[in-house]
């Protein structure tokens, strides 16, 4: 079964994103929201980590959070709330890293 992992903590000084990437299944996806969208900042270690994880079409970011933080990245597909709901149904389950 596939999992949509939802992360909302900044990757700087928190290991949720790193832990998530270690156990990410090949058909799983990640949705970054809240401060987790800072992982998309160009030239940073977390962004490097995401790039090497080869998450094409499996990495999403909540649009309002990226916009609020001036994050403009092509690495993640931006989604609004209706798309978030749709994503939660496209995958078999949602695992939020609280």
């Amino acid at each position: 079964m596939t999992t949509l992992h939802v992360i909302s903590h900044s990757p700087f000084g928190d290991n949720r994103l790193a832990s998530c990437l270690r156990l990410l299944g090949t058909d799983d996806a990640i949705l970054l929201c809240g401060d987790a969208v800072y992982a998309l900042r160009a030239g940073t270690a977390p962004q490097q980590l995401l790039q090497t994880a080869r998450l094409q079409h499996r990495l999403f970011a909540l649009a309002e959070d990226a916009q609020a933080r001036a994050i403009d990245s092509t690495l993640a597909e931006a989604v609004d709330y209706p798309a978030f709901v749709e994503l939660s149904l496209r995958f078999d389950k949602v695992n939020s890293w609280l």
Partner: protein
Amino acid sequence: MKFAIAVFSPAHAPSSRRALRFAEAALAGGHQIARLFFYQDGVHSASANVVTPQDELDVAAQWRAFIEGNQLDAVVCIAAALRRGVLDATEANRYQRPAVNLPAPWELSGLGQLHEAAQVADRLVCFGGD
């Protein structure tokens, strides 16, 4: 489809608002919400004593309006709520506390309600943290 939505953060946390916007989008998309369950610091999202500055978004009030407007089942974990001082009239009376901050539409109940909601829902989606 049917959602069970669990909230683990207080009204002032971004994830409480995120949960609310997700819940609104789920209903707007023609889906159902089997139950909203508030656990850990999420019990503060249900507090009627939250006072938000007038020029800021009052997420606690929006939760209340959303639940009432859509007649949703909104359960606050009783053990987590007692520990954090979120009490309905019965509990305030039982423990002889001076304030009640959990009126209807919220309902205090146990963690079994989370499991039951997760069993009947197609998706369990949790919101918490930042």
